[in-house]
């Protein structure tokens, strides 16, 4: 764990250095009062993408968290904290809905080839439809505010769970199934005592994908819904004021990424706990 943390810090530092390095080579001039170290520097080139508007300084983004985003308003970190909680609630709800639906479909399909063959093409097709096209319709149909957003998030979540659940439920060795048959075990017992435990590692793989996807789904779902309380709303808002404060959008992006990472790590934690007695380590 210690080594992993060190590696993570090194990667983050490298990213920051590449970011600022690009700005050193081709960004806007550095003024003494615009950076914490009072460095004056005139970069030899002017890359358009590395201007302060397109690629704000890392410390400016960091500082933006502490500043009020509108006059006399609360500091940005407070706004982003509540927005993150709001979006997280949508994402978790969507994740649970999508997870249950995905798991249920996997269980049904493992027991019925007919249903699998007849429904699977539509499920695959559903995933090729852009979520942005569906989101406004779901919002209008359901008229349910953040719950509609959770449904959109579930839409993005269930597919990997279905596929991996199905694969996992089919993973037991033929002999393990024969063993159950020799015990005259019911399909129900085979599902709970053999197929499901055997499928857990693959289900968790899907849940890790779905955890981050559900956050993306929730943010996208907020965009056409008129919901302004979440990260999607914040992104829209700071996007329209980009010229006057690009750091705020970047800070919001960082917050969004943070929500996804936290959710992911939560799932990894549960996975570790559930699979702690299995051979081979759980990989994050």
């Amino acid at each position: 764990m210690g080594r992993q943390t060190v590696a993570l810090v090194i990667v983050l530092l490298t990213l920051v250095m590449v970011w600022e390095g690009v700005k050193w080579v081709g960004g806007d001039p550095w003024f003494a009062d615009s950076n914490p170290w009072g460095i004056e520097h005139n970069p030899p080139f002017r890359f358009k993408f590395a201007s302060n508007l397109n690629l704000p300084h890392v410390w400016d983004i960091a500082a933006a968290f502490g500043k009020a985003s509108r006059r006399n308003g609360p500091p940005l970190y407070e706004i982003l904290w509540y927005a993150s909680l709001f979006t997280f609630r949508e994402a978790v709800t969507g994740f649970v809905l999508g997870g249950v639906l995905g798991f249920g479909l996997g269980v049904v399909f493992v027991h019925s080839q007919l249903l699998e063959r007849s429904l699977m093409p539509y499920i695959v097709a559903s995933q090729t439809i852009p979520i942005l096209a569906i989101a406004p319709m779901v919002i209008i149909w359901l008229q349910a505010g953040w719950v509609s957003v959770a449904v959109i998030s579930a839409y993005l979540t269930f597919f990997p769970v279905t596929i991996n659940t199905l694969r996992g439920l089919r993973s037991p060795d033929p002999m393990a199934l024969e063993l159950m048959r020799s015990y005259a075990a019911s399909p129900w017992a085979i599902l709970w005592k053999l197929r499901l435990p055997a499928a857990l590692p693959q289900i968790f793989t899907a849940l890790k994908i779905s955890a981050t996807a559900s956050v993306v789904g929730a943010i996208i779902g907020e965009l056409p819904s008129g919901i302004r309380d979440g990260l999607g709303g914040a992104i829209l808002n700071f996007n329209s004021y980009y010229i006057s404060g690009p750091e705020r959008l970047w800070a919001t992006i960082l917050a969004s990424a943070g929500v996804g990472i936290v959710f992911y790590l939560l799932v990894v934690g549960v996975e570790w706990w559930v699979l702690r007695n299995r051979a081979g380590e759980v990989s994050a």
Binding site: D173, M175, A176, E178, L179, R181, S182, Y183, A184, A185, A189, K193, L194, P197, A198, L200, N277, R278, A279
Partner: protein
């Protein structure tokens, strides 16, 4: 009166392939096994010996013929858990401890907690794994895993034990130790055993009767009674009669393969 615990009468098994080609796995199999016998079935690969075992266990349905186990149809016997089975691989569930693995068949029958616990402990002691009940399968060696699988097969105190090359994947030394252990378990539990194997020495050492099969179609070629004294142990390997029987089974196997080659 029918004294046999296993009676296989006129069994044929034909597998239909995708392109409509038919593979005759078993042809006109007749086999009667008396209670307490240890019968090994030996033959070249693809002779249908595993299929025969699965027909007895009602895991594969015969195309024709009749199978009786413990006085019932093979199906009724399976539903009554009249037999225990062990496969080439231990097939222990990796998410269960050894003790919980052995409890699985009892769990499915709704045994009480105490009954499960005490009987699983008893079975563990029988296969000399008493200290390993709390371990997970991956923490045990291959031989220990296979012993746990045998304990699980015996957990319901079946009158019949079906074993499909259970020691095939083990190294020679472990295999010999497992043979000794199985021999002792068989004597102690007085279970009837049907044992599939590739190894002539294993078949002769363990069995009271060796059934030799030939391949394509799978047929019973010959049955050789093994009259070595019981109980058998390390010294059995040195008996002149052991070598005679070894040779007898070997030449029978050769004839079994010859039938196929000459055809």
């Amino acid at each position: 009166m029918d004294e046999a615990i296993v009676a296989v009468k006129g069994v044929n098994k034909v597998f239909e392939g995708r392109g409509g080609q038919r593979t005759v796995a078993l042809q006109d199999i007749n086999l009667r096994i008396a209670p307490g016998e240890f019968v090994s079935i030996i033959g070249p690969s693809g002779c249908g010996k595993s299929t025969l075992l699965r027909v007895v266990g009602d895991l594969v349905e015969p195309t024709e013929g009749e199978v009786m186990v413990a006085g019932k149809s093979a199906r009724a016997a399976r539903l009554a858990q009249a037999y225990g089975i062990a496969f080439q691989a231990p097939v222990l569930y990796e998410w269960r401890t050894i003790l919980k693995n052995i409890q699985l068949p009892m769990e499915l029958r709704g045994f009480s907690k105490e009954e499960k616990e005490s009987r699983a402990r008893e079975m563990l002691a029988l296969v000399e794994l008493a200290d390993f009940g709390g371990h997970y399968p991956w923490q045990l060696s291959g031989g220990m895993q296979q012993r746990a699988a045998i304990a699980r097969a015996l957990a319901m105190r079946p009158s019949l034990l079906l074993m499909d090359e259970p020691f095939g994947a083990l190294d020679e030394m472990t295999r010999e130790r497992m043979n000794l252990a199985l021999q002792a378990i068989w004597q102690k539990t007085e279970t009837t055993v049907i044992f599939i194997t590739h190894s002539i020495a294993e078949a002769v050492f363990l069995s009271t009767r060796v059934v030799v099969m030939s391949a394509r179609p799978g047929q019973i070629m010959e049955e050789i009674g093994i009259d070595l004294p019981l109980p058998r142990d390390e010294r059995t390997h040195q008996l002149p009669r052991f070598f005679e029987l070894l040779n007898e089974v070997r030449s029978s196997l050769r004839r079994a393969e010859g039938v196929h080659d000459g055809a």
